[in-house]
Amino acid sequence: MAIRFLLNGKAVEVDGVAPTTTLLQWLREHAHLTGTKEGCAEGDCGACTVALADVGPDGEPTWRAVDSCLVFLPALNGRSVLTVEGLGGDHPVQDAMVKHLGSQCGYCTPGFVMSLFEACHRKDLTATDDAGLNDQLCGNLCRCTGYRPIRDAAIEVVGTQPVDGHVATAPTGTATDYVAKGGRYAQPADLAGLFDALDAMPGARIVSGATDLALEVNKLHKALPALVSVESIPSLRGVTRTAGGWRIGATTLLADVEAWSKDPFPSLHRMLRYFASRQIKNRATLGGNVCNASPIGDTPPVLLALDATAILASRAGERRVPLREFFLSYRKTALGEGEVLAAIELPDLPEDAFAASYKVSKRRELDISAVAASFVVRVQSGVVSEARLAYGGMAATPSRAAGAERALVGRPFDEAAVNDAVAALATDFTPMSDHRGTAWYRATLAGNLLRGFYLETRNDRQPTLPARHAGTVIA
């Protein structure tokens, strides 16, 4: 079958290109729309940003800014895409960029324009939300302007909901089975179809937003001949209330998890603020970040600290695996053959819990952690009853610090206990050196973040981040 989608409001039909062709490649080489630029092909510069119609957390159709270098073409089947050319030349966001001198060399500009396009249609972002504006635009790099004029343009247009004729339409959700150039991309519309596809395509890689998988194509130049997408299965997406907790569908977008988590799980919300970029969070899913099982993934430490349970689904039904038993070894998980991650369940966080998350990287935004950490400590009757201290970047898998936890439990939550826990970290972890940080730095951070957690929670059990702050630890 061909891939059918709307491009700048016009129906297009694509066939005969490899399933791993990215939207960016196709736009530039096949559609000859060269306004969308390639600056890196790894989702780190945003020059290729386009708007993709989707459904927002409120169930309404909405535009999302995405990196077109990370979108495999078959994922567009039944959807609508807007590129910079589709805005004409005098859209309010374009006017604002001209007026404020938001472009110098112009190469990053179409990407910024499309991020601003999403921003102008957002209902949950305002001009006074400094952190929100940074989050919206941190996925677009500019080397010329120093960003101040672009920020001014953003302040002018954000949330203005212009009547511009660009109406987002919900994805049709129809099943896709695209075969071309020796590759196959199956995107079933329900779980039964998913298990059929997995049976029919042994060895297939499971994909949703492809924000990590696409790098294997773009950077490692791998052929991925068999891909099964879980993106269009309604039962895998969305957050629902359970008895005593929450169930987060595996394909729930991180942008939506971020918006939802603000109240129930400030520590998760805090981590997602510094997780990747808006464009990535508009495609990446919670399940993808968990199943990737990267030692430097940022949500696993938070989920470990929150005592998450992984819900695994197969034709045989669902089974529950505590997340701490999910990560087996470097990039290896408890997922069996024919099994997918269906959801993550989080128990409610007791009000008496101390909880916060931290992330240290070379650059604050859109950077991979040197160390990520998330802590939950409960104090009952004056002593620590539970301590879950979870780290990323310290071992081959996202890991709890068993020794440090033991050092806290059963004692008052005080400086002496924290000092002992910090000392125990030295036996919990033997971090490595790489270009994100030396072993010394990682080991030092691990302890200092725990110290910072103690200091930070003296006044607020579950502290949230202010807009601008000197570091991951609020002090």
Binding site: C105, T109, R143, K362, R363, H435, T472
Partner: protein, 775 residues
């Protein structure tokens, strides 16, 4: 539609509407000529290796492959290089760095070319490699020729100095990270001629290199540049190799060939800002005034000379920064290593020089527990005899003192300094610092011959105008300024003037758009060309209108005598055509009064100095080493601004780039000489959240400059060095975690890890002792 552009008035960038709509074209966006093939370079995986054999048989067998080319396939010279031809375009006897091209594959598609590149069989014999400045110094592997400047008696001055600082200052490399990676498209034309589209800051150099590689005279090669998606020096000399690969591929296949580098290739084939090591001794008198500076300056050139000698020389020219140093002894060494050949980058050695003297200022103050600005202000250039540089050039109108006075007032320096001291006294985890950075930057190419420019202006019979000049529009707003100048000179709205893509068949023998010189040089050339045409038109207008030519005013699209008769410019153009008057002219400019004797280290290398200053406030977290700029106040002397909005954009953009260089952009090579931070996932340039919410940028007022185009000054590079103020601020904040009296050892770039190390190091040396739970 061209926005309203007028001289001395703010306006958007001339291409802004094209930028925002995606209509602006870059080399890789040009429609593919029929039959176009793609070229892909095969890179050496070894830092230094003898090439034992090479074989393209397997690669050629891949369907879709048209050619696999080695050094022996080059019809002309295989040697390239901007100053001396010391690089093999395709490595011949030896590969000199990881990333050195050994072969070029030409194929139907880029994917096929890449696949074929992996099938090119090259047998290497690995040779010992030099991977650090220190190894290069030990091996005396110097390139170029050392430059020496001396004045006074440094030994005597150091012997009598109240404070002597002896230290080693290092600065890091920096990748240009222009958003548009290198690209070139070579199109064979009839009669053995060539059209090359190149993303270069220096089309004349690409023209010369392509001609040399193909064994042709330069008139056989036309190089055209639509615009660049950023350059920053990275496309000054290093665009040539990419264009030559394309031309070579097109020469052999007879088909157009495009070479476009993806980000990883771009970062692993091309050089960076030079890392420097400088060993220095500085002396201060009891008043904090600099009395002597001895410096031995070592630049990591990488595997070839490229522009390294000139960059290293500019470092010497800027070791003094804004300070008068009576006794100096400067010497530089350009060190060969088997790494990517480092190249021009905004500031061109100037930042590397300034970092040294600012380190001396900081150390002196830190040792004595004083405000470093006491040392800075006491040492400023001033009235005679404190107005002569180490190389004997008089500093006219020294502006550091004025900048300090105005900026310290407008930035509330004293009040904020006191507030920071109070904050630091009570806050244990987060400390703040306030840094001040003055900048004096010499304007002109230090190679005097390069200070020339040409233009070609064409007026059509309908009054519309085409403007050509030798400069490249790479985002800096050069075309905007040139349109303003042309419109002003011809008395027409800038919208009536079209800025043409830069091409070597319009203006020959151009210099690179570099050294901040774009508008200084091309501005005069454009103005001179327009003035010539205007003069011819005025003769005709005088006849038609019956007024003396001298009384005519060209303004607002009208030509006439004030209060007298007038006619539209368009009508006059038509009349000139009817009367067979030439309506096109070249314009030319050569900067006057430059004379520098490199052997003696003496003379006037610069036409003038650009000045600026910054006040930067940071906060630092002692638990993680993380930091951020809270506020920055920038004040820049751009003379009388040609287009103020463009100049402000240059100032703030350059500042952020400078802060990125010194705080987060880390260029890392592994032990085998492979550049490993080769994409934005690992090489971090500033993003929007790194820019202070409170950024106050102003242009110094009433500073019209004599002799420059409309009284303006260069702006491209100087404000990058305003970013050095962040180091001063960080050092103050770091020092606040310990007792006073300790020099701060902060490695650059000041990543969170480097800052945490510096904090722990100074604490360990201070009476405050080891870190406690409460910071």
């Amino acid at each position: 539609m061209t926005p309203l552009i007028k001289l001395n008035a703010s306006s958007p960038h001339e291409s802004a509407r094209k930028h925002v709509s995606g209509a602006a074209r870059y080399v890789d966006d040009l429609p593919a000529p029929q039959g176009m093939l793609h070229g892909f370079a095969v890179a050496s995986p070894h830092a230094h290796a003898k090439i034992v054999s090479r074989d393209g048989t397997r690669a050629r067998a891949l369907p879709g492959v048209h050619a696999v080319l080695f050094a022996a396939d080059v019809p002309g010279s295989n040697h390239i290089g901007p100053v001396v031809h010391d690089e093999d375009l395709l490595a011949d006897a030896t590969a000199q760095c990881v990333g050195h091209a050994v072969a070029v594959v030409v194929a139907e598609s880029r994917d096929i070319a890449r696949e074929a590149a992996a099938l090119v069989d090259v047998v290497y014999e690995v040779l010992p490699a030099i991977l650090t400045i220190e190894e290069s110094i030990a091996a005396k592997a110097f390139l170029g020729s050392p430059h020496h400047m001396a004045r006074g008696d440094v030994d005597a001055a150091l012997a009598s100095a109240a404070i002597v600082i002896k230290a080693t200052a290092r600065n890091p490399a920096q990748d240009h990270f222009y958003l548009e990676t290198h690209a070139a498209l070579a199109i064979p034309e009839e009669g053995g001629n060539w059209l090359i589209y190149s993303s270069t800051q220096h089309p004349t150099e690409v023209q010369g290199e392509v001609a040399s590689v193909l064994g042709l005279p330069r008139n056989a090669v036309v190089v055209e540049v639509p615009r660049l998606g950023g350059g920053f020096g990275g496309k000054e000399s290093q665009a040539s190799q990419i264009a030559c690969w394309a031309a070579l591929g097109a020469h052999v296949t007879g088909r157009p060939v495009k070479v476009w580098l993806d980000r990883e290739q771009d970062m692993t084939h091309t050089g960076k800002r030079h890392p420097f090591r400088t060993d220095y001794e500085a002396g201060f008198d009891a008043d904090g005034r600099l009395t002597a500076l001895r410096a031995r300056v070592y630049a990591d050139a990488g595997f070839s000379l490229d522009l390294s000698q000139a960059i290293n020389d500019r470092a010497l020219f800027h070791l003094d920064n804004a300070y008068y140093v009576p006794n100096v002894d400067f010497q530089n060494f350009t060190c060969k290593t088997n790494l990517l050949s480092n190249t021009a980058f905004r500031g061109f050695g100037g930042p590397q020089g300034m970092v040294v003297i600012e380190d001396a200022m900081q150390r002196a103050a830190e040792r004595l527990g004083k405000d470093p600005n006491v040392f800075r202000v006491a040492s400023f250039y001033g009235d005679a005899p404190r107005n002569v540089t180490p190389y004997g050039m008089r500093v006219d109108q020294p502006r550091a003192a004025r900048l300090w006075e105005e900026l310290s007032a407008s930035s509330d320096y004293a009040t904020r300094s006191a507030a920071i001291a109070a904050h630091n006294a009570t806050s244990s985890v987060v400390k703040r610092g306030l840094g001040f950075m003055p900048v004096k930057f010499g304007i002109s190419f230090t190679a005097t011959l390069l200070n020339q420019a040409g233009a070609l202006v064409l007026v059509y019979a309908d009054g519309s105008v085409q403007m050509n000049h030798g400069g490249i529009e790479m985002g800096q707003g050069l075309h905007t300024k040139m349109l303003a100048i042309a419109g002003d000179e011809l008395g027409v709205p800038a919208s009536a003037v079209r800025a043409m893509d830069t091409a070597t068949d319009k203006v020959p023998n151009t210099s690179a758009t570099a050294a901040s010189s774009g508008s200084d040089l091309n501005g005069w050339a454009v103005r001179n060309a327009c003035a010539e045409i205007r003069q011819r038109m005025a003769v005709v207008a005088a006849e038609v209108l019956g007024v003396p030519a001298a009384a005519l005013v060209f303004a607002d699209g009208q030509v006439g005598a004030p209060g007298g008769p007038s006619m539209p410019f368009a009508k006059l153009a038509n009349t000139c055509w009817v009367r067979r008057i030439s309506l096109s002219s070249t314009g030319f400019y050569a900067t006057p009064d430059l004379a520098y004797d490199r052997e003696k280290g003496f003379g006037r290398p610069f036409f003038y100095f650009a000045w600026g200053a910054s006040v930067v406030e940071v906060e630092v977290n002692a638990l993680t080493g993380e930091h951020r700029v809270v506020r920055a106040d920038l004040l820049q002397d751009v003379g009388k601004s040609l287009v103020p909005s463009i100049d402000l954009g240059q100032v703030e953009g350059a500042f952020v780039q400078g802060v990125g260089w010194l705080t987060m952009e880390e260029c890392l090579y592994d032990k085998r000489g492979r550049f490993v931070t080769h994409g934005p996932s690992t090489y971090k340039i500033p993003t929007i959240g790194d820019v202070p919410a409170d950024l106050r940028v102003h242009l110094l007022e009433n500073v019209e400059q004599d002799g420059t185009i409309h009284g303006s000054k260069a702006v491209g590079e100087p404000p990058l060095m305003l970013g050095i103020g962040v180091v001063s601020a960080l050092r103050q904040a770091i020092g606040a975690f310990a007792s006073p009296g300790h020099e701060i050892e902060l490695a650059l770039p000041a990543t969170p890890e480097a800052v945490l190390r510096a904090i722990m190091d100074v604490r360990a040396r201070s009476a405050a002792g080891a870190p406690s739970l409460h910071g």
